[in-house]
């Protein structure tokens, strides 16, 4: 289950202070390995961050190849492993991968829609050493949830959230919010409370992959966000010491960009189902990427030596206004993928920044969302769901 949520900014190291510098000057070690095990998924979420042409990507890494990736990343110092996708539970070797990861000492996170999970599996995964299961929800009400996910999944997710807790994991729920469900934040949080959740992440849709394609239909309105933020803060106060609620303002409504991935090639490493190594899960779509593959090169060679990972490391690649900006060490100029998608040049400042000459592109996108919201249901553009048929049509495969 690949969400386009704000959790991508929350890599380890952010809480841990300075991270050791390894042999090569200025290159840190990868701390976070996101293993996108497969693009197969029973859901069709229109805000998915998977690439639009996922249907064209076939040859998945084998069990042995994944284990080798885990070993190499772990040897370089990675501590967090995200098992994601697609839906990772569609991999028949998921139990074995969990076992291997845990034996290597990873803190192992399963990021799932809950589809394909049952109480027996949750328990078996626990015994294999899985540390954490994050169950994603699309909304709080059954109808909307099923509409957004394009399938009848809601009741099962509730059962799985309970099974996760019963098996001894912390219950971590992730709700991806957007214009069509953000007004239900109080219902979402009430649901989380009734489930006795430990952590709730209200992850704002970020516009990559399918979400970018559906941006006009997903963009929340300013007044919606103000209500949502007030609600989230009220619940945060009420639930102090009980349930942790993470709420992040979507970057389009901020004045400074997010510190995307905590900096390019800094702590975060994604490996896609076919073995492509990426500095973030959206970077495949950037122009000029060489897309090194773990089948051909070691993780160390890719991390330290590849053009892709060095391309936006440090500050030398920056243009103005980033280059002379006194905040560049805080936000690294924002997101390279967002800069590219909006301005056509991945080395520009993230247009979210009000210092960027391209900020108007963000404001116009927000306005297009409002225009779209004001249309009648008959006039409004339909959401395009993430499925192989749409993938092939849109990518011209």
């Amino acid at each position: 289950m690949a969400t386009t949520g704000s959790d991508q900014n929350k890599a380890p190291g952010s809480t841990g202070g300075a991270v050791g510098i390894n042999a090569n000057e200025n290159i840190r070690q990868p701390l976070w390995l996101l293993a996108e095990l497969t693009y197969a998924c029973p859901l069709q979420c229109p805000y998915c961050s998977n690439p639009m042409d996922f249907a064209d990507i076939k040859k998945e890494l084998t069990t042995a190849e994944w284990v080798e990736v885990f070993k190499q990343a772990r040897a370089m110092g990675a501590t967090q492993l995200g098992l994601s996708g697609g839906e990772p539970l569609t991999r028949p070797d998921i139990l074995e991968l969990i076992q291997e990861a845990r034996n290597l000492g990873f803190y192992t996170n399963l990021i799932t829609s809950g589809i394909g999970l049952d109480a027996t599996k949750a328990k078996a995964f626990k015994e294999a050493g899985l540390d954490h299961i994050q169950v994603s929800f699309q909304a709080s009400s059954e109808d909307l949830n099923n509409l957004i996910a394009g399938t009848d999944a809601f009741q099962h997710k509730i059962e799985m959230a309970k099974a996760v807790k019963a098996a001894g994991y912390p219950m971590v729920l992730c709700f991806v919010t957007h214009r069509q469900n953000i007004d239900q934040i109080d219902e979402i949080l009430d649901l989380a409370i009734s489930l006795d959740a430990d952590y709730v992440e209200l992850a704002t849709t970020q516009y990559y992959g399918w979400a970018m394609h559906n941006r006009d239909q997903l963009m929340p309105l300013k007044e919606q966000l103000e209500r949502a933020e007030a609600t989230a803060h009220r619940y945060q106060e009420e639930q102090k010491g009980n349930m942790k609620i993470y709420y992040v303002v979507p970057d389009y409504y901020e004045e400074r960009p997010k510190a995307c991935m905590n900096g390019w090639g800094n702590v975060f490493l994604t490996v896609t189902p076919d073995g492509t190594a990426l500095p973030c899960h959206a970077a495949r779509e950037l122009p000029g990427m060489e897309l090194p593959n773990v089948r051909d090169l070691s993780i160390r060679d890719i991390w330290e030596g590849s053009n892709d990972f060095n391309r936006f490391r440090g500050f030398d690649w920056m243009k103005e206004p980033c280059r002379s900006c006194d905040e560049k060490e805080k936000d690294f100029g924002g997101c390279r993928c967002q800069a590219y998608m909006l301005t056509g040049d991945p080395a520009m400042a993230d247009p979210v920044c009000t210092k960027s000459p391209d900020r108007h592109l963000i404001d116009e996108a927000i306005q297009r969302g409002r225009d779209e919201a004001e249309k009648t249901p008959q006039e409004a553009k339909p959401l395009v769901f993430r499925n192989p048929k749409n993938s092939k049509e849109i990518s011209g495969l």
Binding site: D7, K10, A11, P12, G13, S14, T15, G16, G17, V19, G20, Q29, L31, M76, G77, T79, Q80, G82, G105, Y107, N109, D131, H132, Q134, G168, Y169, P170, V172, D198, Y199, K244
Partner: protein
């Protein structure tokens, strides 16, 4: 002053979902939790190592640390750390 959570008879345990381990690449003890990591200084590492290894009271924990560190007077430091760690949701009294 907030109320103290731990006294000599309380048994501190790691909070649900937290894991403690030695990280060779970081050359320190760390606490791992869903999607995050805290690097621990040596003193914090010695305390949490004992919290994670076996269930014991704060009194027993302090006695063990004193034995390991030449009878150093560390009661106040241990209590202070435990309260901080609880404030960060790393540990809870059993």
């Amino acid at each position: 002053m907030t109320e103290r959570v731990f006294n000599v008879d309380s048994v501190p345990v790691l909070a649900l979902g937290y894991r403690f381990q030695w990280e060779p690449a970081q050359d320190c003890y760390v606490l791992l939790y869903p999607e995050g990591m805290v690097k621990l200084n040596p003193a914090a590492g010695e305390i949490l190592k004992r919290v994670s290894e076996k269930k014991q009271t704060v009194g027993e924990l302090i006695a063990e640390l004193k034995a390991a560190f030449n009878g150093a007077d560390l009661d106040d430091d241990v209590y202070q750390f435990l309260e901080e760690a609880h404030g960060n949701d790393w540990i809870r009294p059993e």
